[in-house]
Every structure is written in C-alpha cells, then in structure tokens.
Subunit: 88 residues, 2 copies
Amino acid sequence: MINESPLQSVKSNIVVEFDNESQAKIIYESILLEFETAPDYRSSMNLELKDSKIIINIDAEDSTSFRASVNSAIKWIKLSLEINDLTI
Amino acid sequence: MINESPLQSVKSNIVVEFDNESQAKIIYESILLEFETAPDYRSSMNLELKDSKIIINIDAEDSTSFRASVNSAIKWIKLSLEINDLTI
C-alpha cells in the first residue's frame, strides 16, 4: 500500500506571451469566466493580464490536481486562440 | 486554415515542495537523468534543487510542447515518488 505522499504542494506561475497587448486581452477576456467557474477541489488557479502576457498562477495540493489544472488552463487558451482566429 | 498562432512562448517555473530536504534530494537525483536526456524539440526544461523544493523551469515555443513537457515532468516525479516509496 502506498502511504501518504511526502509531496506537500505543487505551485507554478505560467507566463503565456502573445504578439501584442490586444491579442492577450482578447484571449484573457474569453478565458476568464472558465477560471472563475472551474471547480477547484485540490488546486486553486488565478489569472492576470500584464501587457502582452497572461500569467496563470496555480497552487495544487498534489501532482495529479496540478496536472489537471495545467491541462485545463492550456486547453482553454488553445481553444480561445482557435475560436478568435476563426472569427477575425 | 488556421494561420500562424499569435502565441509567442509559454514559460513556467514549477515549485514542487516535499516534506524535507532528504526526500527532495532523493527524487531530484532519480529524475535528473530524465531531464538531461529528454528530447526537447520545441521546449527546454531544467531542474534545480533548493532545500526541500525541486524547481522545474520550462520554456516552450507553443502550448502543445509546453503541455507535453509539464506532463512528462510531473509523471517522472510521481513515478519516482512511487518507486522510492516501495523501496523505503
């Protein structure tokens, strides 16, 4: 039986850089709602917009919930990039 | 056709905290080789050990290679946690 993991937390800030500020703003606004409504059982995520960068801060209790949060965050960004590209 | 993505780069530092320094050192040494030999087509990863923390720095050209790197890094840590737990 695998006992209690010695891993205490996994924290990360992810800096996603775009070509320009307006592009970052479009993506930021289209994913903000996802972040605010995402169920965060064992991890918390928050989003910042800074010039042409979106900064995602993730704080997770374990590696599994960290991985799930990162994959969701990147999926939302990718999806909104594709949606925005189709509508430009 | 989806044109050139306006996403320039995805950078992150991931801080994995353990119960104590010796646990962090065991895991660090067991995953270091994976990091040094990992093929890094569109992303670079490096690893640091600081007290009871392992810091993973990832610099990727796009979200897909970033996601692949994060998933590999977390998988190696999880695997070595499980291996070390079985042998303690």
